[in-house]
Amino acid sequence: MSATVVVIAELVDGRLSGATREAIGVARSIPDATIVGFAAGSAAPSAAAEFGRFGIARAFAAPDPRLDTGYPAAVARSAASAATGAGASVVVVGGTTFGRDLAGRLAVAWNAAAATGVTELAAVEGGLRVRRPVFGGRATETRRLEGARAVVAPRPHAFAVPPESPANCSVETLPPADLGPLAEPKRTAMESAAAGSGPGLTDAAIVVAGGRGVRGPENFHLIEELAASLGAAVGASRAVTDAGWRPTSFQVGQTGRTVSPQLYIAVGISGAIQHIVGMVSSRVIVAINSDNSAPIFRVADYGIAGDLFQIVPALTAEIRRVRGLG
C-alpha cells in the first residue's frame, strides 16, 4: 500500500540543503512511498520546485516571509497543513537543530508519534519501526511509532543521499497560517560559524586519528586532509602528543579524551589499551596500519594492512570524488 511521505525542506541560500537531500534519502527508504516536498519562506516556490531534481513530482510551498528565519514553531503550522492536505502518514525533517525543533512541534500540531536521530527505518503493521543510538552512542534502541502518523529526523550520515533524476514538480501554494503569539519572536542577527573550524573532537560524528606510524609532524597533514574530506574532527594517539607533533587537546585515550563517533578511523595507531579505551564505543572503527598483527585490528570493524602514505591519500581522493568535492 502506498504511503505518502512529506519531506520538509531546509534552505541554504534559497536552495535545498544537504540535510534535506538526506531527508529525501530517508523518504526513499520507505517502500512504495509517494514523496511530496514542502518548503517555507519567501524562496519557497523555487525551492519547492527544486524537489523535482530528485524525481519528486509534487510539492507544497508556504511563501510566508515570516517563515524566512526558519523558526520551527511558526513553520510547524504550515507544515502540518501540508501534511494533512497531502494525506501523508510520514513526515521527514532534516537531521539538524531546525529539524529536531520542528519535529517536536509537528508531533503535537499534526498529532503524530516522533523520533529523531534515526539510523534505520522500516514500515511495519500499524506504523514505523525505527532504530536510533541512545546514551551517547553506547546503546541502540528500537521503537515502534504506532498510529496513523509519524515524524522522523535522521541521524546525519546514516542515510544515503539519492541520486538526481529530474522530473517536473508541480507546486501548490499554501495560504499563510494563523500564527497568533507564534509570530512575536524575531531573529535579530545571524552570525555564521567560522569557516574551516571543523567539529570539536568530543562531538564529532566522524574522527580521524593519527599515531606514531605517521612518523613526524610534517606528515600529519595527510590525517588532516582525510579529516577535511569527511568533515571530521582530528585526533591523535598519546605517542603523537607526547612527541609534540600535536597539542594534548588532540589526544584520544585513557589519559586524554574519550570519543564515541559514528566512525573512527585510526591511522598508524598500534592499538595499545591506553588508546583503545578512549575510542572503543565508536559505532564503526576502521584501522589502517602497516603491521597486520597490530592490536588495533582486534577492536576495529574493518582494517587495511598497508602503507598509510599510499592508502590515506587514495582514501582522501576517493572520498572527495564520491562527495563531489572535486
Binding site: T255, I273, I276, V277
Partner: protein
C-alpha cells in the same frame, strides 16, 4: 542506609570525583595546597561535619561522617586529611567547652571558610602524648605557653589551634590542659610545610609557642583534664580515619579491577589469571571488612557507646588493609603501577600515613588489648 544518608554520600561522592580527583595528581606532584578546593568543600557544608548545627556546622553523626569521609578519601586522601582536620581540632571544644566557649569559638569559626589544627604531638613524643613537654605557665588570669608541636595538619594555614600543654610536668598526664589559641596570638609561629611521602595536598608543619599568652577563658575544662579530653576526642575521630583508609583502599581496588579486565597477557585479560584473581579477592575482602568495621564502630558510638575498642579496631584494621590493598593494586598494574603517570603508587603513599597518624597502629593494638581484657576482668 536511609535516603538522607544516601543523599549525603552522593553529594560527597560527586564533590570527590568532580572537584577533588581531577586535581589530586597535580597536588601530589607539586605539594600544592589547593585552597580553592577546601573553600568549595566549606561552601558545600563538607567541612566542620561534627560541629552541631546551632553553632554553624553540619551537625552530622558518626555514621554520616563516615559515609562522607570515605567518599572524599576516594577522591584524594591528602585533601580529605586537611578537610577533616577541622573536625579533630574542634572536637575538644565541642566535648570539653562550656556553652559560652562553644558559642564564642564555634559560631564565628564556622561562619566562614577557615582551618583549625589539633596540636598534641611533639618532637619528644607522639604516641607518648602523656609525656608532652609544652608548658602552660599560669600568670595572673592568663597562661603563657612555651614549647613546640610537630606534624600538625593544616598548621601553616590555620586560624585556630587547639593546644595541649602541661601546667606541671611532674604531674605527667594529669598536668595536661587544653587551650584554644587563635593564630593571631603573639608568640605563635607555625613552621614550614613538610615535604611528605603522601597526603601532599595536605599541609603539615611544626608550631612553636614562645611566650604565647592565652586567657584562662580559653582553657577547655579544668587544669589537668586535658589528657582525658584528648583521649575522648580521639575516641570520636578515630572512626572517620578508618573511613578515610577505606576510601583509599576502595580506589585502589577499583583501579586494579578495571585494569585486570583491560590488560591482556598470554592471550587473555589478566583478570582471568589465577594469581591476579586471588589478589583481587583478598583486596575485595579487605575493603569490605574495613568498611563494615568502620560502620560498626560509628553505629556503636551513635548509640552512646564510648567506642574506644571499636574505633581502635576499625582504624587499625582499615589502615593496615589500605596499605595491603594499595600494594596489591600496584602489583596488579605491574611496571605501569610503579610509574607516577598511573594513579596507584600515590594510593600506597597515602595509605601509609593512615597507619601512623591519629594514633599509630602499635598504640591502637595496645589500646585494643587493654580494652579487650577489661571486658574479661
Amino acid at each position: 542506609m536511609t535516603a538522607e544518608q544516601e543523599s549525603l554520600r552522593d553529594a560527597a561522592r560527586k564533590f570527590a570525583r568532580t572537584e577533588m580527583a581531577p586535581h589530586a595528581a597535580e597536588c601530589d606532584r607539586t605539594g600544592r595546597f589547593p585552597e580553592e578546593i577546601y573553600r568549595k568543600a566549606f561552601e558545600l557544608g563538607l567541612m566542620n561535619l561534627n560541629v552541631p548545627a546551632e553553632h554553624g556546622g553540619s551537625g552530622l553523626g558518626p555514621v554520616e561522617q563516615c559515609l562522607i569521609v570515605e567518599e572524599l578519601a576516594y577522591g584524594c586522601g591528602g585533601m580529605t586529611t586537611s578537610i577533616i582536620a577541622n573536625c579533630l581540632a574542634l572536637e575538644p571544644i565541642i566535648l570539653g567547652g562550656t556553652d559560652e566557649q562553644r558559642t564564642r569559638f564555634l559560631d564565628p569559626f564556622c561562619a566562614q571558610y577557615q582551618l583549625a589544627s589539633f596540636c598534641l604531638t611533639e618532637p619528644s613524643g607522639g604516641s607518648d602524648a602523656g609525656g608532652l613537654t609544652t608548658r602552660a605557665r599560669k600568670d595572673g588570669s592568663d597562661y603563657v605557653l612555651d614549647g613546640e608541636k610537630c606534624f600538625i595538619t593544616n598548621a601553616p594555614h590555620a586560624s585556630l589551634y587547639t593546644v595541649f600543654a602541661t601546667v606541671d610536668p611532674a604531674l605527667h598526664h594529669r598536668g595536661i590542659t587544653a587551650f584554644v589559641v587563635p593564630r593571631a596570638t603573639p608568640g605563635v609561629a607555625p613552621g614550614k610545610d613538610e615535604d611528605k611521602m603522601g597526603h601532599r595536598a595536605s599541609s603539615t608543619s611544626t608550631v612553636r609557642f614562645d611566650g604565647a599568652r592565652v586567657p584562662a577563658a580559653n582553657r577547655l575544662g579544668d587544669e589537668g583534664e586535658g589528657f582525658a579530653l584528648a583521649m575522648r576526642t580521639l575516641d570520636q575521630t578515630r572512626t572517620p580515619i578508618g573511613a578515610l583508609a577505606t576510601g583509599i583502599a576502595q580506589a585502589a581496588l577499583d583501579h586494579a579491577a578495571k585494569y585486570a579486565l583491560e590488560r591482556r597477557t598470554f592471550g587473555k585479560p589478566i583478570g582471568e589469571h589465577q594469581a591476579i584473581q586471588i589478589k583481587l579477592a583478598n583486596m575485595a575482602q579487605s575493603v569490605r571488612a574495613a568498611r563494615l568495621l568502620t560502620w560498626y564502630s560509628a553505629w556503636t558510638i551513635e548509640r552512646g557507646g564510648k567506642g574506644t575498642l571499636e574505633s581502635s579496631i576499625a582504624k587499625c584494621f582499615a589502615s593496615d588493609a589500605a596499605l595491603r590493598v594499595a600494594d596489591d593494586a600496584i602489583q596488579t598494574f605491574g611496571g605501569y603501577g610503579y610509574m607516577k603517570a598511573y594513579p596507584v603508587e600515590k594510593l600506597l603513599r597515602d595509605a601509609k600515613l593512615t597507619q601512623i597518624y591519629e594514633g599509630a597502629n602499635e598504640i591502637q593494638r595496645t589500646v585494643i588489648a587493654r580494652e579487650l581484657l577489661r571486658g574479661y576482668a
